[in-house]
């Protein structure tokens, strides 16, 4: 059986959901961050799927842009995590609750 567009789309939707669940449940900022990356990559899969089945290059270009942006996000995100690590011993996203209400 050759996989159809629907299969790819369903897989990417599942990946996206997994990423979402990861963001909601994990407490380690690094893992939360990885979950977001997972969501981005599931979108990449969607784009490539459409690009292939629509014979349109736009989707692939978009994937490159997303990958670049994701790389930049990693840089900024890790920098922020490191800078927080310097002032706190443990890192737990739930500890970042000084501001609320």
């Amino acid at each position: 059986m050759t996989p159809s567009a629907d299969h790819f789309l369903v897989v990417s939707a599942i990946l996206f959901t997994l990423g979402t669940v990861g963001v909601l449940t994990r407490r380690d900022p690094l893992v939360v961050f990885m979950s977001i990356e997972l969501m981005l990559n599931s979108v990449n899969l969607t784009f490539v799927t459409f690009s292939h089945y629509l014979s349109s290059p736009d989707g692939q270009i978009f994937v490159f842009i997303i990958m670049t942006v994701a790389a930049a996000e990693v840089v900024v995100g890790l920098a922020l995590i490191v800078s927080i690590f310097q002032t706190r011993q443990r890192i737990d996203v739930d500890e970042l609750d000084e501001m609320r209400g």
Binding site: S56, D58, L80, E98, G101
Partner: protein
């Protein structure tokens, strides 16, 4: 196939392409210069970067002025446009950036940052915002959104020694990337349904040229629209995607809060109008109920939560949420009048909202408590100028005539009433009544409650004074003689109508 094919066969990126993104290029180049300044210029003359930023912003503004009279043009195969709509927002963003730079000067002096990095990031985010307003394809919109967000994450967490600032930056980063994932997923689905990432092409497709007949009923498109609303709604802090706003605003350096509170919203709303009112105009009946619900929730909860705040920055954050609701109402009108109202609103909002944050920032630069409302007691005695101007800003935010905010709100409500949704106008008016209470409360504290007898005087740097004066002039001027600016806003929307053929 078209874009890639064209690019590989004959790449023609000429002077007119660069000209169309002139303001962005000027600021982008300045970003590089500023980084070099930090690396090579001795520490004691680093104030020079303030001046470099200001000069670059003025140059960019002049270019904007030039482009306005020059007429609309497209760049990079229609990916980016410099129509009057984009240019108008460029102007708003540059003005806000100027105000933010003027305000930052004394803040930087008092907290001994490296100014070069700070201004470079500020300008980089401004470039992102301007590109967002100019983006004519989903790709550029996403890229621009990330450019502005990445810069702002760092700026929000810029005070590395302050846990609050760190928390602010990190929260903003995590949640915003999370929301971005929804946004691009939505973009991907829309691309899948319409076969294009170009906004104009999507618009034509939905109107039935070159696409299947019932494309507006395609579930891919509908879910895509829903997810894009999530992404955009997060950025404009609409309820229930607003929860990051007060925390991030509270922790970020105040000049940055002032800047981002206006400009991020302006840039995203520019894209919002372009995408929803024009590109997705044919699917109006599908996105209208979603945004209706979001707008109503935003107006109600934004104002209610603002009522509960005793911290000025949080209060203004929620008030910003509420204003996002009023602007959504204008957007919901889905008419040229509505789009014009959005455009005008941001011009007014830039002056009055940044102005309202100025008080906090100036007090902080004085080493005083800036964001606790009860610390404003007796401000009228300590610095009547500042107290008076802040009163004007708050009145304007509350929508009291004859200030800019009244007129902006009036246009938004007039547009929605014309569009036949009086219920939204009524909700907007009722919720604004709540807002009068919390704005006025600050005024009462400043003017009517006595401060400590030996309270020190609140001083302002020359630049801060300029910023306050300019904002007050804008707030009053736009309220008293709005007609000229209203006409500019109309022209900018006309440009969009021509581009999309609506």
């Amino acid at each position: 196939m078209s874009v890639l094919a064209a690019a590989t066969i004959h790449v023609r990126v000429g002077a007119s392409d660069w000209g169309a993104v002139g303001p962005e290029l000027i600021l982008g180049a300045t970003v590089l210069v500023l980084l070099l300044v930090d690396a090579f210029v001795p520490r004691r003359v680093r104030e020079v970067s303030t001046w470099i930023s200001l000069i670059a912003l003025v140059a960019a503004f002049l270019d904007v002025y030039f482009l306005w009279s020059h007429g609309d043009s497209n760049a990079l195969y229609g990916q980016i446009t410099s129509d009057k709509f984009a240019i108008f927002f460029d102007g708003v963003i540059i003005v806000s950036a100027v105000l933010a730079v003027l305000l930052s000067e004394s803040y930087i002096v008092s907290s001994s940052f490296d100014p070069g990095e700070y201004y470079a990031l500020l300008l980089a985010s401004a470039v992102g915002m301007m590109l967002m307003a100019a983006g004519n394809s989903l790709m550029i919109l996403f890229l621009a959104l990330e450019l502005l967000s990445l810069s702002l994450y760092i700026l929000a967490g810029f005070e590395r020694s302050s846990p609050r600032s760190q928390e602010s930056g990190f929260k903003y980063f995590l949640l915003s990337s999370f929301a971005s994932a929804f946004l691009i997923y939505g973009m991907a689905l829309i691309y899948g349904a319409t076969g294009s990432t170009q906004l104009v092409a999507i618009g034509h497709c939905l109107h039935g040229s070159g696409c299947p007949a019932n494309v507006t009923e395609n579930p891919l498109l509908l879910v895509g629209i829903g997810l894009m609303v999530v992404g955009f709604a997060f950025k404009i802090s609409a309820v229930p995607f607003h929860m990051w706003t007060p925390d991030v605003y509270e922790g970020a350096p105040t000049p940055i809060t002032a800047f981002m509170s206006v400009t991020t919203k302006a840039a995203v709303f520019a894209a919002f109008v372009r995408v929803f009112n024009f590109s997705l105009n044919a699917a109006h009946s599908h996105w209208f109920p979603l945004l209706w619900g979001v707008a109503v929730a935003t107006m109600i909860f934004g104002n209610l939560f603002a009522l509960a705040q005793s911290n000025m920055k949080r209060m203004l954050a929620y008030s910003g949420v509420a204003h996002g609701g009023y602007i959504l109402v204008a957007l919901l009108a889905n008419s040229p009048a509505g789009a014009t109202a959005v455009v005008f609103y941001f011009l007014a909002y830039a002056f009055m909202n940044i102005g309202a944050f100025m008080l906090v920032s100036i007090l902080e630069s004085n080493g005083q408590v800036g964001d606790d409302i009860s610390s404003y007691r007796g401000l009228w005695q300590r610095n009547p100028f500042l107290a008076g101007c802040t009163t004007v800003f708050l009145f304007s935010l509350a929508g009291i005539p004859p200030f800019a905010g009244f007129f902006a709100k009036y246009l938004a409500l007039a547009a929605i009433v014309q569009a036949g949704h009086t219920e939204l106008a009524i909700i907007a008016v009722l919720t604004s009544l709540i807002s009068v209470y919390y704005y006025l409360r600050v005024v009462v504290v400043m003017v009517l409650q006595p401060g400590e007898v030996q309270a020190q005087e609140t001083r302002m740097s020359g630049m801060a004074e300029m910023a306050v004066t300019a904002s007050v002039a804008g707030t009053i001027g736009l309220g008293i003689i709005p007609t000229g600016f209203y006409n500019l806003a109309t022209q900018s929307v006309d440009a969009l109508r021509t581009a999309f053929g609506i």
